[in-house]
């Protein structure tokens, strides 16, 4: 029987295009902030779990070793996790497993990425593709997302204007987030007028290149109840992978993310959630591209399949809506340091605690869900957290 696991502190820092700190300085900053938030010290931490997606950004292979000291991890058990972009949520899931298993009582989870140190993020992303078939034809993330976005819009009859509204919402929400890299007051027409990169994907449908880190401290039930009267529990976790052959899947048109539905189903089953659109109060949804937020809202059951266009049109996912999504600004507005997209989880926690500052939504938040996506359009990781 798995033990209950609580989040007892989070560490934040500003996301920026180019941070002057080194990776270990970035990690030290968020680790210390999380310890302060949890009222713990370095020596209270039993084990450290780190996550980042792509070492080629910083040019240091096995960069986790550099994060050890800043995370307070030396002379302790440490483990690095990497499932590409989905590391942002699979890393705290690995931390959860450390505590739920009974192996450790207090675990520091650190996610970081320093993307600015390479001159071209998209040239780095081209090297994640296989060398025999797709690298020579130049696939990279915005191009593959163009292929996927067209398939998705076509399958469900959605529009580029609906995609644009996600950009307006998230970059607008980021204005209230002191850690955000790209707060912007935009109109749908502004987004529609931004240049096409890989039609139907436009510049303002994408997320920026970002440096940043996030920390979360997890604790067993006994420890959590000593530290706080109102613990926030990890109630459900789920992960899913689909074939690396994105062109040979059961759902051939790429419009439906079977692997994300799988990850969501596991997390909801574990959390005992039957109707997420009703039972989830708040969501931080992985939005490296505007249409990814829409696809993920559907896969997470926050709206019906194919219903993400209506969800944004009717204001459901806006900050004052019935089910706010990415009131922090998401990756679009806060920034997208791939692994450190764990910020989605941090913001769910802050919303439940009522500590989200100007990003706090007006409704009560007891249960929240977050997810992350990565690999060859292939991985999803989902976490549900909430109060008793």
């Amino acid at each position: 029987m798995a033990r209950k696991v609580a989040i007892v502190g989070v560490g934040m820092q500003k996301f920026e295009f180019c941070k002057v700190e080194t990776i270990e300085e970035m990690v030290f900053d968020v680790a210390r902030n999380a310890l302060e938030d949890a009222r713990l010290s370095k020596d209270d931490i039993d084990a450290v779990v780190t996550g980042s997606a792509v070492d080629a950004f910083c040019g240091i292979v096995n960069s986790d070793k550099v994060a050890t000291d800043g995370a307070g991890g030396f002379l302790k058990p440490t483990m690095r996790n990497s499932t590409s972009g989905s590391s942002a949520v699979s890393t705290p899931i690995l931390g959860y497993n450390h505590v739920a298993s009974g192996m450790y009582d207090i675990v520091m989870v650190i996610c970081y990425e320093k993307m600015s140190e390479n001159a071209s993020a998209q040239a780095v992303f081209n090297t994640v593709y296989d060398e025999a078939y797709v690298r020579p034809i130049g696939l990279n993330v915005p191009i593959q997302c163009g292929l996927e976005a067209r398939a998705y819009l076509h399958r469900y009859g959605l529009t580029e204007r609906q995609m644009a509204k996600v950009s307006v919402k998230n970059r607008g929400n980021a204005i209230s987030n002191p850690y955000a890299q790209l707060p912007m007051k935009l109109t749908v027409d502004d987004v529609m007028a931004s240049p096409y990169l890989s039609w139907p994907v436009k510049l303002l449908d994408t997320s920026p290149v970002t440096d940043g880190a996030r920390a979360v401290i997890l604790a067993s039930e006994d420890v959590a109840r000593e530290l706080t009267d109102s613990p926030v529990w990890i109630r459900g976790t789920g992960r899913g992978a689909d074939s690396v052959w994105f062109m040979g899947r059961a759902n051939p048109d790429l419009g439906r993310l079977d692997y994300a539905y799988l990850a969501a189903r596991q997390a909801y089953e574990m959390a005992g959630i039957k109707d997420p659109a009703v039972e989830i109060d708040y969501a931080e949804v992985y939005d490296p591209f505007t249409f990814k937020e829409m696809q993920h809202c559907e896969a997470l059951g926050l709206c019906p399949e194919g219903g993400a266009g209506r969800m944004i049109d009717e204001g459901v996912s806006w900050k004052d809506g019935a089910l706010p999504v990415n009131a922090s600004g998401g990756l679009q507005g806060e920034g997208n340091p791939i692994g450190a997209g764990m910020s989605r989880l941090n913001w769910c926690y802050l919303q439940i605690q009522g500590k989200a500052g100007d990003c706090q939504v007006s409704k009560d938040v007891n249960t929240a869900v977050c997810n992350a996506w990565g690999g060859m359009y292939q991985y999803n990781a989902v976490m549900v957290i909430g109060r008793d």
């Binding site: 002057v20 020579p136 034809i137 915005p142 062109m247």
Partner: protein, 154 residues
Amino acid sequence: MAEESRILTGYVSLPYKWAMGPATTRFYEEFRKKRIMGSRCGKCNRILVPARSFCSDCFVETDEWVEVSQEGSIRTWVLINFAYEGQPKEPPYILAILDLDGADVGLPHFVGGFEMKDLETVEEKVRIGGRVKAVWKENREGYILDIDYFEPID
């Protein structure tokens, strides 16, 4: 006044030798002869193009080679309008996932052979479900780029 944080510059350049594996090697040998061959799974009968040495659905090795058509239809496509670092072509150009007749897996490749003046011209030529045909290069070296592009034929 001293800088807050100095920048060191450098370059990482690492040579590689990638094994193609037997299935891809055979697949590309056929390209020299302008033939597109897939490997068939004996269990589910899917024809895999690009060829693969095993079927990941059935978890068995593929053991038969079957020629597929040089024509097919567009599953999805994208117009690249921005010059990314390390791209093989100057924009604008089109990448698509193509379902060749007789194959059960999509082949990612270029769609071209016409002038891409503006979005309207492109939309007239290219659509999901539109038909295309392979255009081969004169000099072929057994590689994905032996096919220059697929041209719209409807």
